[in-house]
């Protein structure tokens, strides 16, 4: 009798990459629901458009590289990138914005570096940053949240939204507006209390900014689901949120006219929660060890705050993540875990003395 020889371990857990990716997709649902509820069908269309583009790009590249198309599409990683980009883009952005961003994400940021697992930078954030720098007007035109719509107006319906996206006709003026971070940044000279009193974006909100707080809560919920499923560890998100809180506490200075905003506003505005749970947890481009991820997250938290408070852009998650991606190998070098039976941690380049 001859048998097949296979290396140990023979048993495998039921987890696989496709399931992990599917779970990540599922966890974006609360955030997507909040976005759609507060800002209309735009994000929904973004996601659909980005997914189709991403899958086509991935398939085309795989065919060009002579690899099995169906094998590589089965890992859902392209869809995850597309969905994250779609969620990050402003709702009702022109279709070509979504397509250009997705193509750049998949083709340049992911596949040109060797495909899944080899990209040094978060593909979705590369796509986002390229768009933000190239098309600042389209990228900063946000929809007015549901609560602040002028009386009698509503968000465009699905059909109308599609028309807006594909025909390039801009929605009525009342439908677009500034984001909370934007508003706060451009209200210099006013005390925080004054801004809060003046701007409906703030005075009609519970935590941070109308509409935005719901989106952030949605992503927080999704993130907690992933955390409970052990898709990632708590280190990255906690590092980022803690650093952001700490920074905004230090520089809050009681809401003076030069204050960059309260911790609550920074935590629940912009892309904070999405960044913390869906972007910086991308394992490929982050640091590898738990301690490393804590540092990596904290670095992003600090960078987000620095750029938000003193930079030119109102939000900064994409920039911060990309900068931290640069630093990831460096962080890895200094954050090796201590192995059983060894007294000290060591650096990744350091060999133990063979004594």
């Amino acid at each position: 009798m001859a048998f097949k020889q296979v290396t140990s371990p023979h048993a495998h857990s039921a987890q696989n990459t496709a399931k992990v990716m599917q779970l990540v997709l599922l966890a974006t649902v609360p955030g997507l629901i909040a976005l759609t509820w507060q800002f209309g069908w735009g994000s929904f269309i973004n996601i659909a458009l980005a997914s189709v583009t991403a899958v086509s790009c991935e398939a085309a590249i795989m065919r060009m590289r002579g690899r099995s198309v169906s094998f590589y599409l089965r890992d859902y990683s392209a869809v995850v990138t597309a969905v994250l980009l779609g969620l990050a883009l402003p709702p009702l952005a022109p279709w070509w914005i979504v397509v250009v961003g997705t193509v750049f994400s998949i083709v340049v940021a992911k596949q040109l570096y060797g495909g899944l697992g080899y990209n040094p930078f978060n593909p979705a954030m590369i796509g986002y940053v390229v768009l933000l720098i190239s098309f600042p007007i389209q990228m900063t035109t946000w929809i007015t949240p549901l609560a602040l719509l002028p009386l009698g107006t509503v968000h465009p319906g699905l059909i109308e939204s599609l028309q807006i996206v594909f025909s390039g006709y801009t929605p009525a003026d009342g439908v677009t507006g500034a984001t909370p971070l934007d508003t706060f940044k451009h209200s210099s000279g006013l005390l925080a209390d004054q801004i809060y009193a003046r701007e409906p974006l703030f005075n009609q909100a519970m935590l941070a900014g109308a509409g935005w707080e719901w989106v952030n809560l949605g992503f927080l919920l999704g993130g907690l689901i992933l955390l409970s499923q052990r898709i990632f560890t708590w280190h990255g998100p906690v590092g980022m949120l803690a650093a952001l809180t700490l920074m905004s506490l230090i520089f809050w200075d009681g809401g003076s006219s030069s204050s960059p905003g309260s911790p609550l506003m920074h935590l629940f505005s912009g892309a904070t929660m999405m960044g913390a749970f869906f972007i910086l947890t991308d394992p490929v481009s982050s640091a590898v060890s738990n301690r490393g991820r804590l540092v990596f997250g904290a670095l992003i938290g600090v960078l987000v705050y620095v750029i938000r408070a003193w930079g030119n852009y109102p939000d900064a998650v994409a920039f911060a993540v990309l900068l931290a991606n640069f630093a990831a190998p460096f962080i890895d070098n200094y954050t090796l875990p201590r192995t059983y039976g060894h007294v000290d941690r060591r650096r990744a380049t350091e060999k133990e003395d063979q004594s």
Partner: protein
């Protein structure tokens, strides 16, 4: 209640232990032929001390320990030695190794043997000798000779004896069922161990909480013996020596150290039973409890199996269905290795033969790219970064691998188990370890070669210098002689010309007579002709077989021919 500590990482694979403990430990008919590998342990292979055709009795010594770290082998049943040759053995390489084959005579008659009941009053040295002579190795894992482990030397007093009853791998129940049925004998074995080690303070039996029956069976036997049973939560891999030491004592075994360095000895519970049999009953280690399990066998249970029983014999007596079987594994599903053939014999470390169906353990999925999700790092019981190790193993970056403590990897397989991309991580580590070891050996070899080459060069140079010195000395002597004659010349001695003439005359006298020279030349010619003939034959052969050495041979022929010509012409000269 003893405190326990929690190791990092670990996984919880489905246990699948219940299937094989429904029946008691069974026994099988004696197989016709038993194959005993000479190397079933860590250390030097045993040396066969029987001859083919010799009749041996059950328990008779058939191979002697070769050196300190080695164990003897004994005949598992009575019969005739039918072969001593290379056979497939239980090794992942699937290579052959020297084995002794015994054809059973069916009588199963024991050699005369006698134990000692009064081990309390026997010296530890004597007890150790019995353990060593009984061929006992660790029966849980690697198979380290027990007598060596139990004799750490006087400078390291042992204060903790740890009995490993963890059996953390799924499917395996050999220890579990042995404890249930043989708790009394096992505790006797532990007491013997305690006597050998000079009665250490702490004697701890470490056992996972998924074996309540075994714990209950042990309980009455350990009362008022000073032995404590320490129960801890089930997690794979808790049964690794390093892990168990940490769980029970909270101490980490420093890298590169042995438990004895911490004053501990860790012994598998199956081994304690073998030690009891050896000391009290005088029986060498010739059988062990092995689990036969998996859906591809009809009955899943434990057997008391003779060492050397072919796996095919075990399978045949358990309604093995090869159609359903995805692979046959010796050991568990996490660390066991798949067998190349069923002719491989059961050895002293074989705790399980697992024949899973395709439903239980399917074919491996193709590996996907690593996404560095870090699940492996969460599962690693020694806090390595498996994903980084994998990266560097692929790049064959040996320095980085060592910096990331590759050699602390215990190959437990937890990382591969959780990997969502189905990457065979453990195999990468094993192959990387092999490569690093090989590179290391090669480095030693090449350093050695360099040393020898340099010595060789120095020796040649020295010889050269000595020659040169001699030459110089001779020249100087000649010079002195010359100047001496020059000064003496006036006083009427021989002139320089005379000296030369004298030297020529001496040389001529030294030269052999023409007859001698001719005879010598003729001899040379004859020899050269013979060599020429030989070379030509070789050339012809090479041409016939179209070998690539043709040119070499033809050059040799040419060379020899020239030498012949030279000698002939010299002869002709001489004749003139």
């Amino acid at each position: 209640m003893n405190r326990t500590w929690v190791t990092p990482g670990g996984v919880h694979p489905p246990e699948n232990k219940h299937q094989s403990v429904t029946q008691q430990i069974g026994s099988l008919p004696i197989p016709d032929k038993l194959v005993i590998p000479l190397s079933q342990h860590i250390g030097a292979a045993a040396a066969a001390c029987v001859e083919v055709g010799q009749h041996v009795l059950k328990g008779q010594l058939i191979a002697e320990a070769a050196g300190v770290v080695s164990i003897p082998m004994h005949a598992p049943t009575s019969g005739t030695i039918s072969a001593i040759e290379h056979r497939p053995i239980a090794h992942a390489s699937g290579m052959l190794a020297p084995c002794i084959e015994i054809t059973s005579d069916g009588a199963d008659s024991w050699i005369e043997h006698q134990g000692i009941s009064d081990y309390e009053h026997t010296s530890p040295e004597k007890l150790l000798e019995i353990v060593a002579n009984a061929g006992i190795t660790g029966m849980g894992g690697a198979g380290f000779p027990s007598a060596v482990k139990l004799n750490p030397g006087r400078q390291r007093p042992i204060d903790t004896l740890i009995i490993n009853a963890t059996e953390c791998e799924p499917y395996i129940t050999a220890d579990d069922s042995a404890i249930r049925e043989r708790a009394g004998e096992i505790v006797d074995g532990i007491k013997i161990l305690s006597a050998i080690l000079g009665h250490p303070h702490n004697i701890l039996i470490g056992i996972e909480d998924n074996k309540p029956e075994a714990i209950a069976a042990l309980q009455p036997h350990v009362e008022s013996t000073g032995i404590s049973i320490v129960v801890f939560p089930t997690k794979y891999p808790s049964g690794g020596e390093k892990q168990l030491i940490y769980i029970l004592t909270g101490k980490e075994l420093p890298a590169g150290k042995l438990p004895a360095d911490l004053g501990m000895v860790c012994i598998n519970i199956g081994t304690t039973y073998a030690i009891k049999r050896a000391v009290i009953d005088g029986e060498p280690l010739i059988s062990r409890v092995t689990t036969v399990t998996g859906e591809a066998v009809g009955t899943q249970r434990n057997y008391d199996v003779l060492i050397g029983t072919p796996v095919s014999h075990l399978l045949a007596h358990n309604q093995f269905d090869q159609e359903r079987c995805s692979r046959v594994i010796m050991g568990g599903p996490m660390m066991g290795f798949s067998l190349p053939s069923a002719e491989v014999p059961v050895v002293k470390t074989t705790n399980c033969i697992l024949a899973p169906s395709y439903a239980e353990i399917p074919e491996d999925e193709p590996a996907q790219p690593c996404i560095r999700c870090g699940m492996c790092a969460e599962a690693c019981p020694v806090s390595l970064l498996p994903q980084q190790l994998f990266w560097y193993a692929q790049a064959q970056d040996h320095d980085r691998l060592e910096a990331h403590n590759l050699f602390d990897c215990i190959e437990c397989g937890a990382c591969s188990y959780v990997c969502p991309s189905n990457i065979p991580l453990v195999q990468y580590y094993r192959s990387a370890k092999g490569e690093i070891r090989q590179a290391h050996d090669e480095k030693i070899r090449s350093d050695h070669a360099r040393e020898r080459f340099e010595f060789h060069k120095a020796r040649i140079e020295q010889a050269e210098q000595e020659k040169e010195a001699k030459r110089a000395a001779r020249r100087e002597a000649a010079q002195q002689a010359k100047s001496a004659t020059a000064t003496n010349g006036s006083s009427g001695g021989s002139s320089a010309a005379d000296i030369i003439a004298a030297a020529q005359a001496r040389a001529a006298a030294k030269q052999a007579s023409p007859e001698d020279q001719r005879a010598k030349l003729e001899r040379t010619i004859a020899a050269t002709e013979q060599r020429l003939q030989l070379a030509e034959e070789k050339l012809a052969e090479a041409v016939a077989s179209n070998s690539d050495k043709q040119s070499v041979f033809s050059a040799a022929v040419e060379n020899t021919r020239q030498k012949l010509e030279q000698s002939k012409s010299k002869l002709a000269e001489l004749a003139e």
